[in-house]
């Protein structure tokens, strides 16, 4: 509404609405899900219950979501999965809100530099190459993610570490036992270990990663390396929890990792 004459607004002849004003009413201290009306709390859910199909299964689903605290739950679909399992799709209203102004996300890097910047940063500050050893550890054979970070070719249009003049790299590939990774790291006097973990079923990644830290600690060499881990189900937070120095999740690009390593080593 460009017109600001207060009189015109109140008159039924120019009873007008100002959408800019009316739309800017989200309370970031109390953010709730939004379906089609601010704070309606609408949320979609789907899950399977190990019970036979029928109205009772639907009602069990509704009750479950009630107990979870959702309001006005509606089960909109159910499907017999056989063997006394029933799949349910439901909608409900989420009663809780989140204070968006308080959300903070731990991140590994503060400033991501470019390929050239990183190389000259390393040349200036460290005056030597950074030595990194990478591996997909345990039984994990998913090499694409680690290769994306380490190999020449890189990822998403960005060169991998191998291409950087500032890095010397050893990519051990897939299904590398933690012991072999450590012995290689010791052998080449690595600055950093880059571990990739893609398979997460039954939390096998947590097991593998914890074991690596324990082995390093047992040998008393934990502090000789920056310990970095990446993978589609990984976050910086989880990495810290597990005793790593940094974690990188889905969509990570090589410069992010390179910048982190360079800056972190420069700090020391």
């Amino acid at each position: 509404m460009k017109d600001s004459d207060p009189d015109r607004k109140s008159s039924s002849f120019h009873n007008s609405g100002n959408w800019q004003e009316k739309s800017a009413d989200v309370d970031l201290k109390q953010v709730r899900p939004y379906g089609d009306t601010l704070n309606d709390g609408q949320i979609q859910l789907s899950f399977t219950l190990p019970v036979p199909p029928g109205p009772e299964a639907r009602e069990a689903g509704r009750t479950l979501l009630d107990k979870l605290g959702l309001k006005e739950v509606e089960v909109v679909h159910s499907r017999d999965l056989g063997e006394n399992f029933t799949f349910l799709i439901a909608y409900g209203r989420c009663p809780v809100s989140v204070d968006f102004t308080k959300i903070e996300v731990a991140r590994a890097t503060t400033t991501t530099m470019s390929f050239e910047e990183i190389n000259s940063f390393i040349a200036d500050k460290l005056k030597r190459q950074i030595r990194v050893v990478g591996a997909c550890t345990g039984t994990d054979a998913h090499t694409v993610g680690l290769d994306a970070i380490m190999n020449m070719k890189g990822y998403a249009g960005e060169y991998g570490l191998e291409r950087y003049s500032g890095f010397a790299t050893w990519n051990l590939g897939s299904q590398v036992p933690n012991e072999r990774l450590i012995s290689k790291a010791v052998e080449v006097e690595a600055d950093a270990l880059l571990v990739s973990q893609v398979v997460t079923q039954k939390n096998v990644h947590v097991k593998n990663l914890t074991e690596l830290v324990e082995l390093l600690e047992a040998e008393g060499i934990r502090d000789e390396f920056l310990l970095v881990v990446g993978g589609p189900r990984l976050s910086h937070e989880l990495a810290l929890e597990l005793g790593f120095d940094a974690g990188f999740g889905p969509g990570t690009t090589p410069p992010e990792v390179a910048s982190y390593l360079a800056q972190k080593l420069a700090e020391e």
Binding site: N15, W19, D36, T37, H77
Partner: protein
């Protein structure tokens, strides 16, 4: 482009029958007007606003004229006289009427001008007002040129929160998500209101009231976001209902780009009186035509109640009729968004082949029309995953057959009016299918003598037969027998018949005359 063999002889028969049918409609309504047409004229002359009870001034004026048995002269003439009485300009008069301070019949009595003076005065006023619509139209054309409207099929999504401000929020988000067209669905209540509500509204059910102010708010919001995303975002609302021409006028004034406008939808789906509907649709479409607004016809609705397999031909028969009636309102083919739908039971073996046959047939029968293709609704269920897939197959049929306007299906169709994310998922769906299969239609050929061709042949044959029969019988008796969607409507029944009036000998509708004259000279 994969093309079907189409029997041109049958097509010619269809066009001929449709012309006959339209002739019947013309004579059915000749010499008649409606309260809604007259309110429209009043609005177009610049009257607006409501009284203290929220009754719109155009309604008050028409009621006054009707009561005083003056309306048969045409509201334009009456208003001209009232203004020539000298006390008011248009705006002032509207305010005075709203405040109960002016009574048109009294003013008219005071008017001393001759018939010629009145017509000439009205004519000047009409020309000025028509000029504004023309300017609005030009403005649209310039904006379209400046920003472009996206490749076809255009991605058309609805907003339907019931609250214009939430609608705006969702519409702007949709534009950023990639929508080309935003339709603001109306509240369930509105089509049967015999007036157009006023001002911004926040309390609709299953949709938001169509008001001039709501149009304006949405237009402004979309223009702004359109600049940011670099596309001209087209805006749609509904003409149908008891206020068909009035809303068309508001759409023309507020630069809507498309309007749902079907010659028979009101009769069939809202039980509105036949005469009322046919008169109203004629004028409303003249307005649409003059404003350069694409109409969307509503044949898709037939298949939400009737059987999509056995009644497929009724959709096409209706398109021929809608098209012929639209032509008589001077709508050029490029503004005829004839509607059809993807509504065959997804459990049917080879059902997709039949959908392809129908979509391609319609495409070839109306080659210049920006066909409006409607998504699966009837067979959508609470299984949103399966529903998303059905919508994907609908998008595929569209890109193979080259439809013009793609109303996107929503995975939550069976559950609620769209949430903000439903639209985004649907836009992603359509973009993926359209892009990934962009030239699939160009690559394939329909097997001559195959199932698809056979289905198209069958449907066209049934269409021609149906039109021939309606042509023989007349449209009105056919509607009485329930020829479309199985819905029977008696000739004299339905809502709004009290708004149909005989025109006096001197009656004229200066806007209709002007629009027709200008449009047919193009």
């Amino acid at each position: 482009m994969a093309e079907l063999e189409v029997d041109e002889k049958l097509v010619a028969d269809c066009h001929k029958a449709a012309a006959e049918i339209a002739d019947g409609v013309d004579s059915f309504i000749s010499g008649l007007t409606t309260t809604s047409v007259e309110r429209t004229v009043i609005r177009l002359l610049g009257v607006n606003g409501v009284d203290a009870d929220k009754v719109p001034v155009p309604n008050i004026m028409v009621d006054q004229l009707k009561e005083a048995e003056l309306l048969n002269e045409g509201a334009a003439h009456c208003l001209g006289k009232a203004l020539l009485a000298g006390s008011y300009e248009v705006e002032g008069l509207a305010r005075a009427v709203a405040r109960g301070e002016a009574y048109l019949p009294d003013l008219i009595k005071q008017c001393r001008a001759s018939r010629e003076e009145v017509t000439s005065f009205v004519s000047d006023l009409v020309e000025a007002k028509a000029g504004k619509i023309k300017k609005t139209r030009q403005e649209r054309e310039e904006l379209k040129k400046e920003l472009s409207t996206g490749p076809r099929p255009w991605l058309y999504v609805i907003v339907a929160t019931g609250n214009i401000y939430e609608d705006v929020r969702q519409a702007r988000a949709a534009a950023r998500q990639g929508a080309d067209i935003i339709a603001v669905i109306r509240s369930t209540a509105q089509s049967l209101l015999d007036y157009v509500p006023y001002g911004p509204t926040t309390e609709g059910f299953g949709g938001t009231y169509a008001t001039q102010e709501n149009f304006r708010i949405m237009r402004e919001a979309l223009d702004e976001v359109g600049q940011e995303v670099g596309r001209y975002i087209q805006l749609v609302n509904y003409c149908s209902g008891l206020c068909m021409p009035e809303i068309a006028a508001l759409g023309a004034l507020e630069r809507l780009d498309m309007m749902l406008n079907d010659a028979m939808y009101g009769i069939l789906f809202r039980d509105i009186n036949m005469k009322r509907t046919f008169i109203d649709q004629y004028f409303s479409r003249l307005i649409n035509a003059y404003a350069g607004i694409i109409i969307n016809t509503g044949e898709d609705n037939y298949l939400t109640t009737a059987d999509s397999l056995t009644e497929a031909h009724t959709v096409i028969a209706s398109q021929f009729i809608n098209q012929e009636l639209a032509r008589r309102s001077c709508l050029p083919p490029e503004l005829m968004g004839l509607g059809h739908a993807f509504e065959i039971d997804p459990a049917l073996e080879d059902g997709f082949l039949l959908e392809l046959a129908q979509a391609q047939l319609v495409r070839q029968l109306f080659p210049e029309a920006p066909l409006k293709y409607m998504p699966p609704t009837k067979y959508m269920t609470g299984d949103i995953f399966q529903g998303h897939l059905q919508d994907g197959m609908f998008n595929l049929a569209s890109i193979i057959t080259g439809q013009g306007i793609q109303l996107l299906g929503m995975l939550t169709e069976a559950i609620h009016t769209p949430f903000i994310q439903d639209r985004a998922l649907s836009l992603d769906n359509a973009r993926y299918i359209f892009n990934n299969c962009r030239n699939l239609g160009q690559e394939l050929e329909f097997k001559s003598g195959g199932r698809i061709q056979a289905r198209a042949d069958e449907v066209l044959k049934e269409t021609a037969e149906m039109l021939a029969e309606i042509g023989k019988k007349g449209l009105i008796p056919s509607l009485e027998e329930g020829i479309f969607a199985g819905i029977k409507r008696p000739r004299t029944g339905g809502k709004g018949s009290d708004g149909v009036l005989e025109c006096s000998r001197h009656y004229y509708n200066p806007f209709a005359d002007l629009f027709r004259k200008e449009l047919s000279s193009q």
